[in-house]
Symmetry: C2
């Protein structure tokens, strides 16, 4: 291992340096990938020299998600204390199913779950687990809801028409998961949103009543804390009241912005969260850990166990169920996704996590202020969001984002709300400074102004 640790350090140093010098890696089009890097796997070993040379090329050609010009996803940047934890998780290589082979790493995971349940305000019968990504957290919530609604399904299968509810702006994993769990995509009801992208509670209740009258069995409402495009927060108290009236499971998908529970200033965005039945958050988004670090907690320990427990005498050989985490997981073998959040949290404290979250909102304010003060821009998103949605000089967002990408200028994507397409700038990299955000706009403007194609577009759009 020692020799490959040396190689790792060499490549790490090179990558860190390149990320600063050249924040967007040179783009390789997919059809040139196999010719520009020797990715092929052969029967014979590669020589050490060729292997190292190829690996270096690969590392330096990989999109740089940690640089200060990556704004393309709902994650970005690198917080070294979290990365440290994940590097150690790789080396330690425990599987989280039993105390016997994970030892105190079980305590790490339980401590995180315990603290998050406390922050959410769940009662003493809470529990939770780590899922392989936010889609799978939502999946676990939906399964618990299905089984809580009808405990015979686990044994007998789905035998009735069940319906579930989510806003039009929610994540695509909701219908996908509905197909997976045997409920079916047609039973997903997309509730309209208000002008801020938030689910309209009255529309939800109307739809539930209609479904009941038609003989369907409603079982699940998915609220979103940070929608994928606008970063909107569904208002939880009215949704909770409706769920309680109709006996439905309320899940809060906080994959993107659930991290606001750490912030005194922004936790009002999820006011009422203690009323939910389950809540999920991706620490690899707002909290800045490496992928993936997805947490799902519930105030019904019983339902987590009912839906996911299993007997496997070959596996669970020592210690109580409370320490054998495989009993509440969708997986069997499971890598240690907890340590990276623990190293970060331990070192900076909850106060440090709060600063990380608040800084992202500060950066969003900087971006919105810039846009508002500049008439070449149109703003489409709202306050209290770290997604800043805008267009520049009416240039079609897709054209602009693709050109910025293909020219290795900036990594930023686009989205749409109510049929309007726009650039979506995500200020989730807490390593960025206000200058980095202003620089984003400078790079974009210079690119447009120096690019003949866009000048023509401007003319066509009648801007100049």
């Amino acid at each position: 291992m020692e020799k490959d640790l040396v190689l790792f350090n060499k490549l790490a140093t090179l990558l860190l340096q390149k990320e600063k010098e050249e924040p967007v890696a040179p783009i390789i089009p997919p059809d040139e990938m196999y010719t520009s890097i020797d990715i092929s796997l052969e029967d014979a070993p590669a020589s050490d020299a060729f292997f190292e040379e190829t690996l270096e090329k690969l590392v330096l050609s990989t999109p740089r998600t940690a640089s200060n010009q990556f704004f393309n996803q709902l994650f970005g940047g690198r917080i070294s204390k979290a990365t440290l934890g994940d590097l150690l998780a790789v080396l330690l290589n425990n599987s989280m199913y039993t105390y016997k082979v994970a030892g105190p790493q079980v305590g790490i995971e339980k401590e995180i779950l315990h603290k998050i349940c406390n922050l959410v305000g769940y009662g003493k019968d809470n529990d939770g687990t780590f899922a392989p990504g936010g889609s799978m957290s939502n999946y676990m919530a939906m399964l618990m809801a299905r089984d809580a609604c009808n405990s015979r399904i686990k044994n007998e299968g789905v035998q009735q028409k069940m319906t579930l509810y989510t806003s039009k702006e929610s994540h695509y994993s909701i219908p996908k998961n509905a197909t997976f769990i045997g409920v079916g995509r047609e039973q997903v009801r997309y509730i309209p949103t208000d002008s801020y992208g938030r689910m309209i509670p009255e529309k939800l209740e109307e739809q539930i009543k209609e479904d009941v009258s038609l003989g369907f069995q409603p079982f699940f409402v998915n609220a979103t804390a940070g929608t994928t495009v606008l970063g909107a927060f569904d208002e939880l108290p009215p949704l909770s009241a409706i769920c309680k009236r109709h006996n439905l499971w309320l899940h809060v998908d906080g994959a993107y912005c659930g991290g606001v529970i750490f912030s005194a200033k922004y936790k009002h965005l999820v006011a009422g969260i203690a009323l939910s039945d389950s809540f999920s958050v991706n620490a690899h988004k707002m909290l800045g850990t490496p992928l993936s670090c997805s947490i799902i907690v519930t105030q019904h320990k019983k339902h987590l166990h009912d839906s996911f427990s299993n007997d496997a005498s070959y596996l669970y050989q020592t210690d109580g169920d409370d320490y054998n985490l495989g009993k509440t997981s969708i997986q069997c073998g499971r890598r240690n996704d907890a340590l990276k959040l623990w190293t970060l949290w331990k070192s900076v404290g909850s106060q440090g996590l709060e600063k990380i979250v608040d800084h992202q909102f500060d950066l969003a304010d900087v971006a919105r202020d810039y846009i508002k003060s500049n008439s070449d821009y149109t703003l489409y998103s709202f306050d209290d969001s770290i997604s800043i949605c805008f267009n520049y000089k009416n240039i079609p967002a897709q054209t602009l984002c693709t050109a910025l990408y293909e020219n290795s200028e900036l990594m930023v994507g686009f989205g749409a709300f109510n049929d309007t397409e726009f650039v979506r700038l995500v200020t989730i990299n807490s390593g960025n400074s206000k200058e980095d955000i202003l620089d984003f706009f400078k790079v974009l403007e210079n690119f447009v102004d120096n690019n003949l194609a866009f000048q023509k577009l401007d003319v066509l759009n009648g801007i100049h």
Copy 2:
């Protein structure tokens, strides 16, 4: 990051040294965990010194799965070229859903899938993906089978009684997944096995016919390449013939021992695998990568896409579907589990992977020969398996394994077949030598002989 890389290297060096000096970490009972290490997460940051001290304690108290005395799971050891790849994956932190943010890492994943499909012998319409663990690979196979049997289920939900088939010795994820997908645990048929732990094809066909006559809809047969306890291989040609007669999906769960496809000497154990509809293998088991590296391939690209594709215009913004791997994943954001296998495979070649696999069988031979030549032992497992199941001096396996663990002597587990419980020694750590295997027995024997409790057990059992 640089400062934390220094800390990582310090802890890595310490761990590597400790693994050699003291292959089994001192055990901390669960109820002492929180007092012996300050796991707690606080509002305030920890001082650098306290953080480093606590983290060091944690790292050195974590079970050592890479040492030469870890035989407890279906993984173990550390192959440095694979670990190197996973360390780099942490630092690069790409999500594998799109080419835009994963770049040539997409090519890495596709190359691995392509090579594995070729080794299996699937035709040109093959495809595959990486799943978060072997249970989830089996899950994806079962879902494809469900949807291939009845394409309306995705939209309308499960509305019929569907049955699926697996051997009594197969993995517990099969019934667990049956609950998840809405089919139900009661619809799982456990087919009896022969004296070697292999599914009896005649019993399978009898059961299918009975289910059909009762109005059930059979859809899925799970065959196992390496059962969890004995390491047995179901015989694929007769199972395939039955599946073709009844139009059922045949999946081969090779999570544990699917790695034999790399070995000229042992691939006969999965003879007929090209006849299967899907096949899964965990590279973090026989191929020795860090957790997790689970691969599922199918010869029906269409069904992989039908069951898992999705539209998400906010996500898929550039490049074709063939390069946007999120379209065939159960997850949305997904960490890079491919790079660790690629760095290993590239550096040692397929020939090197073959040596890794063959060496595990060689070590198993060493263990079986030792047991056979020593009358204090009883052997319960069979040739061509890397699970060596035995009892020593008739000591109850559970008692022995727990005592070895609690005294930090050896990490090894137990299993059962036909109601007989035994120690299960797994020779999957290809970093081990024949001497390490012989040393395992020496440590075990010395422990028993120096332990008064076991001498009493011996007397009770009438051995001496």
